[in-house]
Symmetry: C2
Subunit: 353 residues, 2 copies
């Protein structure tokens, strides 16, 4: 029996999100259980140009508005790479139009906005997932096995995460991530999202009790964060720190210290190589480098898993998998707390579920 | 012409500092420009036992007091591995007796005490050096070359350092480092000393303007720090964080992020292998693992360099090399600031030179 692929629409393919959209449209096309059905942009010409540049087949419909994609009954799911300030409006509308939702990070400007997206997804029975690619790399579950191994890793005591890249002058002037009217969360919403997620991932999504931003965040003239850091504190004494930045050389580290072992990974966001990715563990029995090989890039794993969940709902009558909403919400909660701490002169902020 | 080696005395060889003293006595014996002349302990029997266990030749004098070592006119220099609470008294007396001084870290309980040691060393023209071994490993200067390379590394933006080891129950009950009447600085004075030094080293010993301890340090019942962390902040926006602990698996990381490159080292305190040590750098041209081979362990490099400086003073009429006093003092200053921040409810502490 031939598989019926999940049909995707993409909302937004303007030059500001071009790179991501390109990557995801390729993944949607290459993933065995999905197909690209339509793309929409506020500018029909931009959408047309994008389709031509990426060699989309004539079967991909081109729309001059986002609404048109959402109104197309053939579209099962949408990928939404719009600037964060537009997430609330379009994510809620997509859910209301019963489109399953693959939403770029940061998922919203704050958790109140995100809760409206959650409500819309739940009310309309649509699957939600955010676009945090590394969660879907096979290496990630291998690393998790180590963290859960009480003999080799023991119990988590502390984590440090770095995500930085040295943005060029053009990025620092023109990218949506440095524009308060398009984004608003800057390096914290972008690079910091990954750091916070990696910390939550390492401690099995147990929320910290308190978050305190580190002093000295660097802001641009419009007040958007270009670099910042924070410490996170749990009830049981666990701690974490992270530093995220648009101003330092590409660094993508997670270091997790347990009572018995240590995990190091240096390219957790995007593995240096597409076909293999490594991490290292040290424990009493020594120091080991693990290499995980894969024949697919991580974005295809993500699209495939998302499409599998959508298919289960559409054809198998399953409920949406709620863990992705929960993980996104916790990430946004911590992100909000870091932002609040920066705004309140580095006060400790209690994280409320 | 035969070399006249620098003649060392060792103050203290009780079981509490046995491991370090063993390592250093071996280094003094193996280094080409030094020789072990005398050991002294409060207990003559302990000193005798130590000499026998380590196979010292009969030429090594054994004394039942520290004073006797300091009064021996043949002794040029002393290695002082006593508990930190005894440093002030014995380091000052050693300097007054014109003995060059190799002092274990933490150098003192606070910078006021250390300034008295500085004064005694300067007034008596003796060479000072603290026992931070990794400073003398050939890898350290290779890593420094990378950090100073404005093309490959650019300018330092942030550093993170971890030093932790999982102390066993015996250590946590009986080691001098967990006893307030012997040490007082706990994991901060021991593991934290290395973290602070690594951060200062990475930024060329420029002192931070502000230091803020991270919340949630872990103390034992006597109030001694078993794990803690801090952030450090410079005038120009540079930041650093560290975490030191007796409660997590052995981890010895420096990660330094520049505008153009990143340095990673995972065993900076004691290289995993004695004959080679590695570090990795990433920059625009890619990711490179550097291996530095050496035929000597780092402690011999330290003893040799210290002895060379002493010889220059003794035979060449040189002045003592003051950089080692300066580096130790800066490390102690930052350490004091972290401790003060912990004691003052995690207030930012200004670092005054």
């Amino acid at each position: 029996m031939a598989e019926t692929p999940i049909r995707f629409g993409i909302l937004g393919c303007a030059s500001i999100s071009l790179k991501l959209t390109k990557k995801l449209s390729r993944s949607i096309t290459l993933s065995p259980n999905s197909t690209l059905d339509a793309i929409g942009s506020n500018s029909f010409d931009e959408a047309k140009k994008f389709a031509a540049e990426n060699g989309f087949p004539p079967s991909v419909k081109i729309y001059g508005s986002y609404e048109a994609v959402l109104d197309d009954p053939n579209v099962d799911a949408v990928y939404l790479p719009l600037p964060p300030r537009l997430h609330l409006r379009w994510a809620v509308l997509a859910a209301e139009k019963k489109k399953h939702l693959l939403l770029e990070k940061p998922v919203a400007l704050n958790v109140d906005e995100f809760d409206q997206i959650v409500e819309a997804c739940e009310a309309n029975g649509v699957q939600f997932m955010d676009g945090t690619l590394w969660m879907h790399h096979p290496r990630t579950s291998k690393m998790k096995e180590f963290l859960l191994d009480t003999q080799r890793f023991g119990h988590l005591k502390t984590v440090h995460s770095f995500f930085s890249f040295a943005a060029n002058d053009d990025f620092l002037k023109n990218d949506i991530r440095v524009k308060p009217h398009l984004d608003g969360l800057g390096a914290l919403g972008d690079a910091g999202w990954y750091c916070i997620r990696s910390i939550l991932w390492a401690c099995d999504y147990e929320l910290p009790k308190t978050v305190i931003a580190l002093r000295g965040p660097i802001l641009n003239e419009a007040g958007v964060i270009l670099a910042c850091g924070s410490s996170l504190h749990w009830e049981d004494g666990k701690t974490a720190t992270f530093h995220c930045s648009f101003l330092s050389n590409l660094t993508m580290d997670i270091t997790a210290l347990g009572t018995e072992g240590t995990l190091h990974v240096r390219d957790f966001i995007i593995p240096y190589e597409e076909k293999s990715a490594s991490f290292s563990v040290s424990c009493k029995t020594g120091f080991t480098e693990h290499v995980v090989t894969t024949d697919l890039p991580q974005e295809i794993f993500m699209v495939r898993e998302f499409s599998r969940l959508v298919k289960n709902i559409k054809e198998g009558g399953s409920e949406p998998e709620s863990k992705w909403l929960s993980i996104s919400r916790k990430t946004q909660l911590v992100l909000d707390a870091v932002k609040a701490s920066i705004e309140r002169d580095f006060e400790p902020i209690q994280v409320w579920v």
